[in-house]
Amino acid sequence: MNRDQYLTMYAQMYRIRVFEEHVNELYTSGKMPGLAHLYIGEEAVAVGVCQALRPDDYITSTHRGHGHCLAKGASADRMFAELLGKAPGYCSGKGGSMHIADQERGNLGANAIVAGSTGIAAGAAFAAKRARSDRVAVCFFGEGGLGQGILYEVMNMAALWTLPVIFVCENNLYNEYTPYAETTAGDLLARPRAFGIVAEETDGQDVRAVHAAAGRAVARARRGEGPAFLLCQTYRFLGHHVGDVNRGYYRTKDEEQRWRAERDPLQILMTWLIAERIATSEECARVGEQVRAEVAAGLQFALAAAYPDPSEVDTHVYA
């Protein structure tokens, strides 16, 4: 890894952070329709994984998908436009926050069904393998997805047929408003391992650790050695969705503050870059400013953009 790559990772994480801050603001000021599940706090997972991918690799994403989409290379302007239901949005305003897709960069879409895209990711991996390409597919899902049966059906087939798919479980400790320990029995890694899937746990707040683990999984998959499972321990700093403000009944303020103060993925990378004399704090700040300006311009673009023409309502029902 060289200096540029580290700074790219920093910029990508920063981009997600700022994007989500704007989304929070848009939503609370009543400018954004629908729901918004923010990725703040979990940036290192999407960025660490996607930096280990090529543009032509596939990903599938979740209801908390803005970070995955940006990390895979989408631009903020068209993403904001999609979130606002505007015509230049990635899905022409027809998908919205929970369904954003960007097929040019291999993003087969966010999914509002928990674990709903596990089969899709495996299917894309299946097609890649059949086409004798070395593309891989990454399936992002929250630890809540561990409760869905389809995940086990799909892991079984992925192992059976050595599919180049990487299951990335983002364990942010809560299934919505319920601590995962109350819903999830046993050792999480034992589940993929039962299928013979290589499984590894990693610090989801440390983008370098995620990137290294993802790199190993991706390299194996490209070599034709089959699926892998990455358990990324992470934390969402804000509510399950923007409206989830009073969280005292399921987690303490103290816990939230500790994660923010000690486990912020942006801080962790920046501190390391400075300590290793790879970049100065001024350089990091400059990256931050550039990203801020770009994302703010993206938001202006989206706010000014047109809504879809009413005639669009019944197009694309069928291909």
Partner: protein
């Protein structure tokens, strides 16, 4: 013009419904290497009804894939493979079991194209069964076609003859949308005429007025064994004109012929064709064809007079041209 147009096209022979399904799959798999079948006991077993037997011998286990008993998983895998450029056929052994795959069918396959603003496509077929009276009781006998027909984004086919089964199957596999095909388990041994070789079922709209409606209906009967399914639309009044009905049908079938016994030139057919072109231009696979009276004074001699007005045979010829069947 022969009274049996079927015999003028291609040779037909009698095969069973099950054979028709298998033939369609085999032909499509030969034609297109991205087509594959995945399901429980589809390979060596050829499904419990033996409909697919022989396919694994020709295409190998990589294209006729025995899956785990995982309806949701295989349907999801097919959705992803379809999004990534393949044309999967998912075999769900009994219609009753689509319940287990319903999220993947209704929330994933059906929605992807729309939700992505038209950027992603899911060209896949779900093959399953319907029907009771096999004494299989409540969990192996349901006819759940209404469930999927209710969901925008899905196409649903219910073949009733070997001819339809083969044609609909080939049409479904080539369709860029998710299609669910229900086969009645009791129909597999049913025999019927099926043309040798290539055909898919195209559709055509015939708009006709007055006595031409009878001509059109007769033509539709003659077209059916040729593998062309015709929808006859009678506007009933030219003023006011139910333009919506004409345009809707045109958008559905993509091929339209307009008939009226008046002169074609500057005639009712011209107006109707214009209305359809305006409302459905982007949906049409071919220019709208007109069929009216010849531009001559009506002659007395019966041999001549009969040439000047549309006949079912001429309608059949025009419909075949529209559907690219010469």
């Amino acid at each position: 013009m022969t009274s049996d147009p079927a015999s003028t096209v291609v040779a037909t022979r009698e095969i069973t419904f099950g054979q028709a399904v298998r033939e369609a799959l085999a032909e499509e798999m030969r034609r297109d290497p991205t087509v594959f079948i995945i399901g429980e006991d589809v390979a060596e077993a050829g499904t419990p009804f033996k409909v697919l037997s022989g396919l694994v011998e020709e295409f190998g286990p990589a294209r006729v894939i025995d899956s785990p008993i995982s309806e949701a998983g295989i349907t999801g895998l097919a959705v992803g493979a379809a999004m990534a450029g393949m044309r999967p056929v998912v075999d769900i052994m009994f219609g009753d079991f689509i319940t287990l795959a319903m999220d993947q069918i209704a929330n994933q396959a059906a929605k992807v194209h729309y939700m992505s603003g038209g950027k992603l496509k899911v060209p896949m077929v779900v093959r399953t069964t319907l029907g009771a009276t096999r004494r299989s009781a409540a969990q192996h006998s349901q006819s759940l076609q209404a469930w999927v027909s209710h969901v925008p984004g899905l196409k649903v086919a219910l073949p009733s003859t070997p001819f339809d089964a083969k044609g609909l199957w080939k049409t479904a596999i080539r369709d860029d949308n998710p299609v669910v095909i229900f086969e009645d388990k009791l129909m597999y041994p049913l025999k019927g005429p099926v043309p040798e070789g290539e055909y898919a079922i195209p559709f055509v709209t015939i708009v006709a007025t007055s006595s031409m409606v009878q001509v059109a209906l007769r033509a539709a009967e003659m077209l059916s064994p040729l593998g062309i399914s015709a929808e006859v639309v009678d506007p009933r009044t030219t003023v006011p004109l139910d333009a919506r009905a004409l345009v809707d049908s045109a958008r559905k079938t993509s091929r339209v012929m307009v008939m009226d016994e008046g002169y074609e030139r500057y005639g009712v057919t011209a107006e109707l064709a214009a209305v359809i072109a305006e409302g459905a231009f982007h949906y049409l696979d071919a220019p709208v064809k007109r069929l009216g009276a010849m531009h001559v004074p009506v002659p007395f001699s019966p041999v001549l007079e009969d040439l000047t007005v549309p006949t079912p045979e001429r309608v059949v010829e025009v419909a075949k041209t529209l559907c690219g069947k010469r």
